[in-house]
Symmetry: C2
Subunit: 205 residues, 2 copies
């Protein structure tokens, strides 16, 4: 049963809220409480939870510890997924510095760049290699996730290289729509598109 | 006429593609070419462009230089928008380092944190202040955009503080659904939700 993307995007909100309630000392949480807090319909919360193997008790709701552990496992946050990062520019370096990603299951183990002067450096304690060493390292480390932070005009070329080298999932931070074979997972996080929405709405006020 | 959010999210893709074509020496671009490249329907491209004041010539299409300049202006990327950042942890520091945002119109001018030991520091050449100085600096600098990168359990509290201090638009990077008055713009960029989608789809392969 394929979990719909909107569900997968809402579950982390429920998780964040459950964690907050936990730090405030709560032990149980109902879907009605979640629905009210997140401002979605409670039937939607119940539907989202139907994809996850979570069972609550009538009236008292879900045991928070169990809810958190189950959601973290379901979302893949409690498991470590190794990833390579491609393009050690401004955004790429930032992500190498961000160890918050590890708490959510993503461990960037190395960065690659075309610039020879970057090879051999460490950024955020992650080694940087020249892009020509990717194939060799991929075979050794069997990394299947690639973070794409290259300039727009290199996005497709590097995506092709990633796929050819064995990457199965690409987290694309470029505003470019990369083309990949059907069996490759692509998740687009275009921060600039979010900026555009924010600027536009701000001017409408 | 309020521009729909999906349109605002697609326009930066068109812009990225137009810039790519420009570097490759093209001078004109048709909506059919854009549609084929971005893998959307060409009527959708035309509809998206109808919100922007762009006129193409029959058959030859849009003049690329004009298209790029018009889109950048429309999306707010060619204007500098000052912003404050709240929460100088791992992700917050990363964003202070990312000068790529400036190319898209966002200039983070200062960071705020509750930790007294961070006050007086500079990260990515941006000064860090104790959160207690926010009100005073906001009045001086008239910044209306706030980037929210605090821990989940502080998200609502800090959002309230931002709004009380005069922030009109919040770029929320926390996985928490903050509640704000109706006239405040919120743009959620939950990188962890994107990770969850990627992990899930990867396991489905």
């Amino acid at each position: 049963m394929k979990v719909p993307e909107p569900t997968l995007r809402r579950l982390p909100w429920y998780l964040a809220y459950a964690k907050l309630c936990q730090t405030q000392g709560a032990t149980y949480l109902t879907s009605t409480q979640i629905a009210r807090e997140i401002a979605v319909d409670s039937s939607l919360v119940a539907k989202d939870f139907s994809y996850v193997n979570i069972s609550g008790k009538t009236r008292v709701g879900y045991e928070i510890n169990v809810l958190i552990a189950t959601l973290e496992k379901f979302l893949g946050f409690s498991q470590s997924h190794k990833a390579f990062l491609f393009g050690v520019g401004s955004l790429g370096s930032s992500l190498l510095h961000d160890n918050g990603l590890e708490q959510y299951g993503l461990e960037i183990v190395a960065g690659f760049d075309v610039k020879y002067e970057l090879a051999g450096m460490q950024i955020g304690r992650k080694p940087i290699h020249h892009i020509s060493h990717f194939g060799e390292l991929q075979q050794k480390m069997d990394v299947v996730i690639g973070v794409l932070t290259v300039p727009v005009d290199k996005a497709q070329e590097v995506a092709d290289l990633m796929v050819a080298g064995g990457i199965k999932a690409i987290w694309n931070f470029t505003p470019f729509r990369i083309k990949v074979p059907r069996n490759i997972v692509v998740q687009n996080t275009s921060m600039y598109a979010h900026l555009a929405v924010m600027f536009n709405r701000l001017h409408d006020i």
